[in-house]
Amino acid sequence: MIRVHDLAHARAGDKGNTSNIVVVAYDADGWTRLERDLTAARVEATFAQLGAGAVTRYALPRLHALNFVIQDALSGGVARSLAIDPHGKSLSALLLTIELPDQETQEP
């Protein structure tokens, strides 16, 4: 079992009720794996548990980075949120817990 934390580092930012999380691969192999397996759908499934909505993924191959924009992830946004972490700064750590499928079981 491999987790995103094994391959990459991450930082979360906030704008209103939207969180963006940048994921940066440590090396080229990690980048190949992340670009293939860390899909918007996979991130969306994890963050849906927090009540978050649609996820858009942007890829920056030159920097081996993916940027995930996660709608409705911040309990209404910094101003009105009851959350203990209204900025969602800790959400980068949640993304790093996501498990990726075993390579052997991948479809060709």
């Binding site: 930082r11 920056l60 030159r62 920097l63």
Partner: protein, 451 residues
């Protein structure tokens, strides 16, 4: 005109550390020191402070920062640019000049830049649409506290053109605080998109100060994320040349680190579509940006592109939106989580029995689920802290939340301790509207200079 200019980030948020700015100033390592100190809600808070005291309404740390850096900045000819003016740039300038004079720096002049405040325009246009809720702004006008447009680099340049050593603004887009000094020093015009792109990416990278140089980065489980000297993380410094070439570094001898990894995290911080990062000065395209390590703690930034500035300016409308009450209490040992859950139930039942209702209530078990909610991994902690928070338009109902949590000391499950002081705070909600640029009339007031 200069061939290049060195710009340092002296603060990356309202409550940032002060020592890194002092170190940069004492070392004469920069030509311009920029303090970015204005989060989305900050101006509304400062409007409320100014209503109580007409001389208040600017960053509460302005005096401490100026007391610390004014003298070394004056000695080395370093100019200061900051949005610490908040809701009262002229008051902030007055306070700065007083501090300068008290330190025998009577020659220091301070330019206050105004024009971001557009509440009258918004009040006169109740049909303007709020971008987040899609409702007309009319719905929040009775509770509106502030409405401020994001000004661009031109506002900063207007202050710098007076020759004042210190330029203080209210709401200015964060990257523009850095782009303005570059445009001013290097003689760039506002239509020179390739250079505006490089100046804007510089501002975006520097605006959160230590987040570029090893702050918000260390992960003890990953050797790749080791950050040396975290007690003394140096703030970032950009050297930007007349042709737009850009290198970022940090003060030698300080802790922290600046390399491709720290810079990549910050490059995309609070960015949505990397091809369209909207600022008042241009629409920045980061798609082809590269970060090239050119030495220890030294990175060249290439490939930023830009499209022309948007027609409209974004305005943040802040309005009072009820109250949040909260309280915490701790449990430890056998069954800590079960007792915390029982306490949560009792508090909610008591609030209902007292007839209070809430728009939203949240129960957190700190140590289990407070940060990642239902997505949290399984855990069976030795101790746990119950936190209950609720939002309501009724201040009494808000106050009751923390009160009833506190009562768990005597009226709850066994072994509850460490209850927090009950808290109630005003909710300051924020939404955005767009206004045409001509609505903003930039004004500059220069104070001080009597030697």
């Amino acid at each position: 005109m200069r061939r290049s200019v060195r710009i340092g980030a002296g603060a990356g948020f309202a409550d940032d550390r002060i020592e890194p700015a002092l170190a940069m100033a004492e070392a004469a390592a920069v030509d311009v020191l920029v303090f970015e100190c204005l989060a989305e809600r900050t101006i509304a808070r400062e409007v409320l402070a100014r209503r109580k005291d007409p001389d208040a309404g600017f960053n509460p740390f302005l005096r401490a920062r100026m007391e610390t850096v004014l003298k070394p900045c004056a000695q080395h000819g370093i100019r200061i640019v900051s949005n610490m003016g908040g809701a009262n740039p002229v008051g902030a300038a007055r306070a700065t000049v007083e501090i300068a004079q008290a330190h025998g720096l009577g020659g220091v002049r301070c330019a206050a830049v105004t024009g971001d405040e557009v509440t009258r325009h918004i009040r006169d246009r109740p049909g303007l649409m709020l971008m987040e809720s899609g409702e007309p702004v009319e719905a929040v006008l009775p509770d509106m506290v502030s409405a401020n447009a994001y000004l661009g680099a031109d506002a900063v340049i207007a202050g710098l053109r007076t020759g004042a050593e210190v330029v203080l603004t209210g709401r200015v887009a964060d990257p523009s605080l850095f782009l303005g000094p570059a445009m001013h020093a290097l003689g760039w015009c506002e239509h020179d998109l390739p250079r505006l792109a490089q100046g804007t990416v510089m501002g975006h990278l520097l605006e959160c100060a230590a987040q570029l140089t090893g702050g918000c980065f260390a992960d003890p489980l990953r050797p790749e994320k080791y950050v040396p000297g975290m007690d003394d993380i140096g703030a970032p410094i950009a050297t930007i040349a007349a042709d737009g070439s850009l290198e970022i570094t940090k003060l030698p001898g300080t802790g922290g680190r600046l390399d491709r990894r720290t810079a990549t995290e910050q490059l995309l911080y609070e960015v949505h579509d990397p091809a369209a990062y909207v600022t008042p000065d241009c629409v920045l395209d980061l798609s082809e940006v590269d970060l090239i390590e050119t030495g220890p703690d030294r990175v060249a930034v290439t490939g930023a592109r830009a499209n022309p500035a948007p027609e409209m300016l974004k305005v943040l409308v802040a309005y009072a939106d009820g109250f949040i009450g909260e309280g915490e209490v701790g449990y430890a040992g056998i069954g800590a989580v079960e007792r915390a859950r029982l306490a949560a139930q009792v508090v909610q039942d008591r609030l209902r029995r007292r007839g209070f209702a809430y728009d939203e209530m949240r129960v957190d078990l700190i140590g289990c689920t407070s940060l990642h909610g239902a997505a949290s991994g399984a855990s069976d902690p030795y101790e746990v802290r119950l936190r209950i928070a609720a939002r309501t338009s009724d201040r009494k109902a808000a106050a009751a939340v923390g009160f009833e949590v506190r009562a768990m000391h005597v009226n709850g499950p066994t072994g509850g301790g460490g209850g927090s002081v009950p808290s109630v705070r005003d909710v300051m909600a924020i939404q955005s509207v767009l206004v045409p640029r001509h609505v903003v009339q930039i004004g500059v007031t220069v104070l001080g200079g009597a030697s």
